[in-house]
């Protein structure tokens, strides 16, 4: 199965990226702007999926990785005057560093304890943001000044606040992370991660250091989520503590479960679907949370493997 039809898989991914590229020219302004945001958040979901979908580690604290990237990049611009690329890399580095620390501690636990420990570390991170309000802006957050949000290449400069530039930047980030995910999933390392999810002890007895592999997965996951957060700060110009709250730890879980855990495109589909449902229902009733709630229950009752997971199970076995 895993060796089957790589051509089809690559073609599909290239097709999705091409399709998203074309969409930039045909979508009306509102959906264009919304999709740029969804692409950035889908990266967050992909980072989450790396750990939850492929390694089977259910974290309830990924808001901290998203927001460490958000603050890492945002505060570097606000307080240190860093340029956009430097701040972006800084955000990712913060995410990777935090992930190493959290991984070393949290991986001592498994199952429900892992869920709760990650949730508590995220809570600590959230409170730390509030505690250092003079630096972070506390619960109000801070604006990343518009003039600083420019990508400069020699003589040319790209204004990240321009809708097309923003969309294309988001698409580049999304595509790179999507292809990285695909490469990891199809690699030897990806096979080890899935093996850990399926049967950790057996994997150790086949010669793999499962702890270091899981740690590496957390770092990759944390770095991807931080990249999403950093991009969010730089593209949308706001850093705030609400992105570190429990809600933002649950959201990627929902997106991934909806789209299909352990599928490369599932995170995008899930994020898209969730935004779509919210957007449509909120136009008709302010009680859209009710409909989101019902949709969630219906999905787990009737499509327990998520949208792509169910497709893969029934028809498209080759889907990566």
């Amino acid at each position: 199965m895993s060796e089957a039809s790589p051509v089809k898989a690559y073609a599909l991914h290239a097709g999705v990226i091409a399709f998203l590229f074309v969409l930039s020219f045909v979508l009306p302004a509102y959906y264009h702007g919304l999709l740029a945001r969804i692409l950035v958040l889908a990266v967050f979901a992909m980072g989450y999926n790396m750990l939850f979908g492929y390694v089977g580690l259910l974290s309830l604290g990924h808001a901290m990785f998203f927001s460490v990237g958000l603050y890492g990049a945002g505060l570097a611009v606000i307080h240190l005057g860093w340029s956009v690329p430097l701040a972006f890399l800084g955000g990712i580095a913060c995410g990777a560093a935090l992930a190493v620390v959290i991984g070393l501690l949290a991986l001592r636990t498994t199952g429900v304890a892992f869920m709760i420990v990650t949730m508590m570390f995220a809570q600590v991170f959230y409170l730390v943001i509030l505690y250092f309000a003079s630096w972070t802006g506390g619960d109000q957050g801070m604006v990343v000044p518009q003039p600083a949000r420019v990508l400069t290449f020699g003589a040319t400069s790209l204004d990240l606040t321009d809708p097309t530039v923003r969309y294309m930047t988001a698409l580049v980030l999304f595509s790179v992370v999507l292809l990285i995910t695909l490469a990891i999933v199809r690699s030897r390392y990806g096979r080890v991660l899935v093996a850990i999810r399926e049967n950790e002890e057996r994997t150790r007895m086949l010669g793999y250091n499962t702890f270091s592999n899981k740690l590496a997965a957390i770092v990759v996951s944390g770095a991807i989520c931080a990249a999403s957060g950093a991009a969010y700060a730089l593209l949308f110009g706001y850093v705030g503590s609400s992105f570190a709250s429990v809600q933002y730890s649950i959201l990627p879980l929902l997106w991934v479960l909806l789209g299909g855990a352990a599928t490369t495109l599932g995170p995008l589909i899930g994020t898209l679907f969730m935004y779509y449902v919210t957007d449509v229902t909120s136009a008709y009733t302010s009680a859209y949370l009710l409909i989101v709630g019902i949709a969630l229950i219906a999905l787990v009752l009737f499509f327990p493997k998520g949208i792509l997971g169910s497709l893969r199970q029934r028809w498209l076995g080759w889907l990566p």
Partner: protein, 434 residues
């Protein structure tokens, strides 16, 4: 590739469906969404569309509802008097969930989907700050009714205005002389441990110092706290005044527990009514507040010396003499803040008329026209009182009320002067490009 089309169909069908609905609405004159308030379209010209960013869900929901009521009343009054530039006003409401991320999305939605002329009405500071970049990027005039100091701090951008309600820094500054002169000179502050509280933490001590009074203790309480008694021992015994500014659903508990702690033998109390907005002052447990003082932006209870404008405003919004909804005495309004929605809309009207505003292409002119305003006279358009407006920092300054709790009502005992609350501008938005 069929599967790919399959899942992207989601957005495309949605798109066509929405577009179709929009067409239907425009064609048949139907209201398709709640909050899509429509008025008889007598004019030949299209209505002016105001995007209302409302806290319908999330922690701000109690405020959002009254902000909507006041806005609806103001729009009704404006339309009845001929609208703005002869065009009717239409309000389109989107819920931001009291979340900054979603707030920014909604500003984008107003700009690109609803194509509103302005965005208006945000209360919670973090939503304002989170949405401000989106307003600036979309070059969308964004009129907030938040009372935070964020607009006047000039940390946001040229498209963000707060012309309908005085900011908290000014409010605090104008309270200090009265507190020092009438209540006591040794003040202990109790405030929420987040940005709203920090404004009080930072601005009150210097303001009191200037009046010869002192803050002798500052007690910050986390916003999620649901019980407060354990903090009270930190109040120094020599305290003459407890200055409290708690907000959120647990404030009633705060006052009740303070009552249990002190009994009748308490220091003087001075509070910001933010604590008890939308809450009946006669709720069980609040007897303890009798005789204490509150800041009020606009008085909740009808006062004997109310102007005709104030009376007309109260009638239009539908609140009775006790500040509750007409017909439902339990539904207490957020009177101290919501007047800002009314007044802001009239500022928008004035600025649009000054600018000769025709449509979104004139948004820059609207910004400049707003910045050119300097004062608003008391009257039906500004029932809370006269105000000055500083176009460089996009902030208005008005009088403040100090009310005493007497016999289960709030009675205004002092009105500050506008000058009491003026401070040095921290920057200048007008130097920014449009």
């Amino acid at each position: 590739m069929t599967d790919k089309n399959g899942f992207f169909d989601l957005s495309t069908t949605g798109l066509t469906r929405r577009t179709a609905l929009k067409g239907l609405a425009a064609g048949a004159g139907l209201a398709v969404a709640p909050g899509f308030v429509r008025y008889a379209q007598a004019q030949s010209s299209a209505p002016i569309k105001i995007g209302f960013q409302s806290h319908r869900t999330g922690i701000g929901a109690a405020y959002g509802r009254w902000y909507e009521k006041t806005t609806a009343a103001a729009v009704k009054a404006i339309n009845a008097a001929g609208g703005i530039n002869g065009r009717q006003v239409e309000v389109i409401i989107e819920d931001d969930g009291t979340d900054p991320g979603r707030g920014a999305e909604m500003v984008g939605k107003f700009a690109t989907q609803h194509k509103t002329d302005i965005v208006f009405g945000t209360l919670f500071s973090h939503v304002v700050i989170g949405s401000a970049p989106a307003a600036g990027e979309n070059k969308m005039p964004y009129f907030v009714v938040s009372e935070g100091h964020h607009v006047a701090s000039t940390k946001l951008n040229r498209y963000v205005f707060q012309p309908g309600i005085t900011d908290v820094k000014s409010q605090i500054q104008s309270m200090a002389p009265w507190i020092a002169g009438n209540v006591g000179k040794k003040v202990t502050m109790i405030y929420p441990d987040f940005a709203f509280g920090y404004d009080h933490r930072d601005y009150l001590p210097p303001a009191l110092k200037a009046q010869g009074a002192d803050v002798i203790a500052q007690i910050a309480i986390p916003p999620t706290e649901s019980s407060f008694t354990k903090y009270f021992p930190q109040i120094p015994a020599e305290t003459e005044v407890i200055y409290h500014v708690m907000v959120g659903p647990a404030v009633l508990t705060f006052v009740k527990e303070l009552g249990e702690f002190y009994g009748s033998n308490r220091p003087q109390l001075f509070g910001f009514i933010d604590s008890l907005e939308a809450t009946d002052i006669n709720s069980p447990g609040l007897e303890f507040l009798d005789g204490s003082h509150f800041w009020e932006g606009s008085p909740r209870y009808a006062q004997p010396d109310d102007s005709d404008a104030q009376k007309a405003y109260r009638a239009a919004v539908g609140i009775d003499d006790n500040g509750a909804a007409v017909g439902d005495a339990k539904d207490v309004s957020t009177a101290a803040h919501m007047f800002g929605c009314w007044e802001t809309l009239y500022v928008v009207k004035k600025a649009m008329e000054d600018a000769g505003y025709k449509g979104p292409e004139d948004r820059a002119k609207l910004v400049e026209a707003t910045e050119a305003l300097t004062a608003f006279a008391e009257g039906p358009e500004h029932p809370q009182g006269p105000k000055t407006f500083n176009g460089k920092i996009h902030q208005c300054f008005g009088i403040q009320n100090i009310s005493k709790v007497e016999g289960g009502k709030l009675k205004v005992v002092h009105k500050t002067k506008i000058e009491d609350g003026l401070y040095e501008a921290e920057g200048d938005y007008t130097t920014q490009a449009l």
